[in-house]
């Protein structure tokens, strides 16, 4: 579904990703974990088209998407829920969702309407608040909205950048549960998290990224049991967090 080969990317002259390779198969949940500044967001932003890659290949659905515009990549079915949510603060909750389906209303209007209802069923709070300005939602509600808006693009692969950032654990759980549910419906997910415990909990496989390089990959099981991962990303008192 998504294959990345020797990807290099960054900002101006600064090279952040130094040759990243990874792949995501249909129906998988794959997570990328790494410390602050490792390049996780840079990776997702490059895949989604917000940043142009410097070199390397990005192949999505057998098409080379490196260097295409964001709108094109979204149209192909590869959608990002960006870091810090980036919802439309000054528009209503409903309009945020409607705009998620921007490319679909003219051609698949009926289907988009169904998806809108489905998403409001998945997160009933969004239905309740549909007329409210999105900027006045709580952090957790905004994250649900950002996820809902991304789902409205009808992605084949959904990328999420730190959905747990600044959100109460109980809401994180709800969001992760909805991801598992969506995966059962056929969605593929690429999830970036600092909260490695939580993301390895729902993922099939994972990659560990450090200063722009993938240093480790494996099934969630393997990574959870790996000593380096335990020390660096799960914390010493890993058992207690595990609670």
């Amino acid at each position: 579904m998504l294959k990345i080969l020797n990807l290099e990317s960054g900002y101006g002259k600064l090279r952040v990703l130094k040759g990243v390779s990874l792949h995501v198969s249909p129906g998988e949940i794959v997570t990328i974990i790494g410390a602050n500044g490792a390049g996780k967001s840079t990776l997702l932003n490059t895949i989604s088209g917000l940043i142009r890659p410097m070199s390397g290949e990005i192949v999505f659905d057998d098409k080379q998407t490196g260097g295409l515009g964001v709108e094109r990549i979204v149209g192909l079915g590869c959608t990002l829920v960006p870091e810090r949510r980036q919802i439309f603060n000054t528009l209503s909750v409903k309009d945020n969702l409607v705009l998620g389906g921007y490319l679909r209303w003219s051609k698949q209007g009926a289907e988009a309407k169904q998806d809108l209802d489905y998403i409001m069923g998945l997160f009933p709070i969004l239905k309740e608040r549909e007329k409210q300005l999105a900027g006045t939602l709580s952090g957790g509600e905004q994250q649900m909205l950002a996820l809902g808006r991304a789902l409205m693009t009808k992605p084949k692969i959904l990328m999420m950048d730190e959905p747990s950032l600044g959100i109460a654990p109980i809401i994180v759980k709800e969001i992760f549960r909805s991801l598992t549910k969506l995966r059962e419906g056929g969605l593929t997910v690429l999830l970036v998290e600092q909260n490695a415990r939580a993301s390895l909990g729902i993922a099939d496989r994972g990659y560990v990224i450090e200063t722009g390089n993938i240093i480790l990959e494996g099934t969630s099981e393997e990574l959870l049991n790996n000593q380096d991962v335990q020390r660096a990303y799960l914390g010493k008192d890993y058992e207690r967090i595990n609670e």
């Binding site: 917000l50 960006p82 980036q86 439309f88 309009d95 705009l99």
Partner: protein
């Protein structure tokens, strides 16, 4: 004052004010999608009415106005594509455009008319080519050295100067006017003792249609919402599949189009001269700031306020001071309440910029 005179002042103030409001709304549309203040907005009004005046000499009035609005819309799109979107890259199209625009000036003004045609052309080219190349060079230097929004605003000032010069050479400095849409310059309607030209009703009607139409457009159409989304958060808009660049072009087109329409309906009353755009832009800008930048309802209220204020001021002040009213208002607002009278505190807190 007698009541019918008061009414007369109010009506003329409202008429003038609704034009200010339309100019301010033109500012707002572009500001909302880009964060730029487009100082060429006044020139769109002038260009629209000038084209309509020329066409009206051989076409029915309605058709002339329609074509003028469409043509101005296209000019808006072209200016955006060449000067705003293509800003970052070296652009042959821009150099050629600049060259042609500058070429017209010595050519039309007859600077070398004593020479044979070919020599005349060659001299004009010799003047225009280095100037166009020089502007392009400075442009590129400038692009590297200043912040995005400020740079684009300065470029719109450049566009307005350029448009004014070109219009001077295409049409000359004479006052022109479209014919009255209904009746003529002496026909008038009695409204509670105040005599007004039927054209005033046209101005008010068209302004109202523009304001209501735009509100419906932004509230209820997908494209309208997408434009609002761009003004709220460009990154997020592109992640929804919205082509932000085209939305910016579209905002220039809409602003140019409604500007041209406003220019056409007012032309019979105020006449049209190539250089009236800058005054309109200053007043429209004062109104936009007074109403809260980006806020179209605020623009209407502020526009009517300024129009009526000026109308009454005419009876007590010399004409020269009238023009200063808007500047004074602008400065006072910028110093004491930059969010404008009607700038919603809540919405502006939620805005990114």
């Amino acid at each position: 004052m007698e009541s019918n005179i008061v009414l007369q002042y109010i009506l003329s103030g409202i008429t003038q004010g609704s034009i200010y409001a339309i100019v301010a709304i033109g500012f707002n549309i572009i500001y909302n999608t880009t964060g730029i203040i487009n100082f060429a907005q006044g020139e769109f009004l002038v260009l629209g009415s000038m084209i309509a005046i020329s066409l009206a000499s051989f076409l029915p009035l309605a058709l002339a106005v329609l074509i003028a609005c469409l043509a101005t819309t296209l000019v808006g799109a072209a200016l955006e594509l060449v000067f705003i979107r293509g800003l970052k890259k070296w652009s042959p199209v821009r150099v050629v455009t600049l060259f042609l625009l500058i070429f017209i000036i010595p050519f039309r003004s007859g600077l070398f008319d004593g020479f044979p045609f070919l020599a005349n052309m060659v001299f004009c080219v010799l003047i225009a080519a280095p100037i166009a190349a020089g502007i392009e060079f400075l442009f590129k230097r400038f692009v590297k050295s200043t912040s995005n929004v400020l740079r684009m605003i300065i470029i719109t000032i450049g566009i307005s100067i350029l448009m004014r010069e070109v219009m001077l050479h295409v049409w000359d400095e004479k006052n022109r006017a479209l014919p009255f849409f209904t009746g003529n310059e002496v026909s008038s309607i009695d409204i509670f003792g105040a005599m007004i030209s039927p054209q005033v009703l046209w101005v008010l009607g068209v302004s109202a249609v523009i304001v209501v139409g735009l509100n419906l457009f932004f509230k209820f159409t997908l494209i309208g919402k997408a434009m609002l989304a761009c003004s709220d958060n460009k990154t997020a808009a592109s992640l929804c599949g919205i082509n932000v660049k085209w939305m910016v072009t579209l905002s220039f087109m809409i602003s140019a189009g409604i500007g041209a329409l406003a220019g056409c309906v007012t032309s019979p009353l105020t006449q049209t001269q190539y250089n009236m755009g800058s005054t309109l832009a200053i007043k429209g800008f004062a109104v936009a700031v007074l109403g809260g930048l980006g806020n179209s309802t605020g623009a209407v209220v502020a526009g009517l306020m300024l129009g009526v204020l000026e109308a009454f001021a005419i009876s007590i002040m010399p004409n020269a001071y009238i023009e200063a009213i808007s500047i004074v208002i602008l400065l006072v607002i910028l110093f004491f309440k930059p969010s404008g009278l009607f700038g919603s505190a809540e919405a502006s807190r939620l805005k990114e910029f």
